[in-house]
Amino acid sequence: MMNTGYVRPRTLEDALAFLAENSGKTRIVAGGTDVMVDLRAGTLKTDYLLDVSRLQALRGIEIIGNDLSVGAAATLSEIYNSAILEAHAPALQKSAVNFASKQIRNVATIGGNVAHCSPCGDTLPALAIHEARAVLSSPAGERQVPIEAIASGPYMCALPQNEIITRFILKPATVAFADFQKIGRRKELAVARMSMAYMADKDAEGRICFFRFALGACTPTPQRNHRIEAMLTGQIPDAARIWEAGRVLAEDTIAVTGRRASAVYKESAIQGLFMRMVYPLV
């Protein structure tokens, strides 16, 4: 605790300059809810903590043209309370509902949730179905990467150390069906044993004309599943079809994770949770 410094630059430029100078010995902190746990456990040793939570460039949730922009320092409470998200990214809004506890939602940020690269980050499946890209700033300028590219594995961030995630660009969607669900060991304050998000629309004939789905907390990094998206698109949804899609989803997931002891539950529960979540389509 005594050997770690704290800096809070006033502007993004100052922050990037500090990061450039102290690359490799600085950890970016926003809400701090993951960083503090790692510091206490001794698993994070860093010379500096760079506080980006008050940077204006990282704040705000807004529609810009055809894009939905969510500031990296938007807190989970802001996401929870956002009317814009409720309308344009409802699964993301729902992912904030059961995120940790209110105390944590009040400070934890979406940028932190993504950058921490926990396989069970609750916002990730919802970001994935909106094909979210992270906007990264460095002294060299801005670039965008798909959020799936940020983690190279559980808790392993693939981003260069001189970049800061400033915001996420989502494809907004106004859909009739959208949800985020997770399974935890209790009703609140639960780490996701499994999570998933979807959004869908049906045409006048009742066929699924749009379907996006992503699974969290089961694979090393959260993933969209294009196979079941294709399977269900154009179909009249009935229970048997959804059940079958859930089976394929489980099969695909187990192919990634391998058949470990914990997979016994996961394999069935993936199918079950998928059924439960998507059932309103029937």
Binding site: Y6, R40, S101, Q103
Partner: protein
């Protein structure tokens, strides 16, 4: 300036504070060890129990998970700031009357979560109360008398409970 030590200024329970703190210290550590207020408790140290809950700019936060440096410029309320010289805050009186306290270790955190809720929503329903205090674990009461305490405070809340 050596960033290993940080100068912070904030308001604590209505009084201005100015402190030099270690850069990576938690708000809980600073409040308990540098300031000496012992109401906020360390039950787990990792944001899982809520016993360290304080209010920062009107919002309930786990002080164990907040950098003390982030208190700079903030308005901070701890359980010690609830009661006045005239006596207990109405919320505290309600906990006393409805037996919402058993061992009392979770009590300050629960009071702060509830206090912040009542600021945001003076008349929350049961589900909203549950959502606000789900991050405050209690192993003694089974929560029934805590809900009874809060719900009675809500019933009598004409705004003063959030003051």
């Amino acid at each position: 300036m050596d960033p290993k030590t940080v100068h912070i200024e904030f308001t604590l329970n209505g009084s201005p504070r100015s402190l030099e703190i270690p850069g990576a210290a938690s708000a809980l550590w600073v409040i308990r060890n540098l300031i000496g207020l012992k109401g906020a408790k360390e039950g787990c140290g990792i944001g899982e129990c809520g016993a360290c809950t304080i209010e920062v700019d009107g919002k309930a936060v786990n002080s164990c998970l907040m950098l003390a440096a982030q208190l700079d410029g903030a308005d901070v309320l701890t359980v010690e700031g609830l009661a006045s010289e005239d006596g207990l805050h109405p919320l505290q009186s309600s906990f006393l009357e409805h037996h919402g306290v058993q061992c009392g270790f979770c009590t300050p955190g629960l009071l702060m979560s509830t206090h912040a809720l009542l600021k945001e929503n003076p008349h929350p329903d049961h589900a909203q109360v549950s959502k606000a205090i789900a991050g405050n674990l209690c192993r003694c009461t089974g929560y029934r008398q805590i809900f009874a305490s809060i719900e009675d405070a809500v019933k009598h809340n004409s705004g003063e409970a959030a003051q």
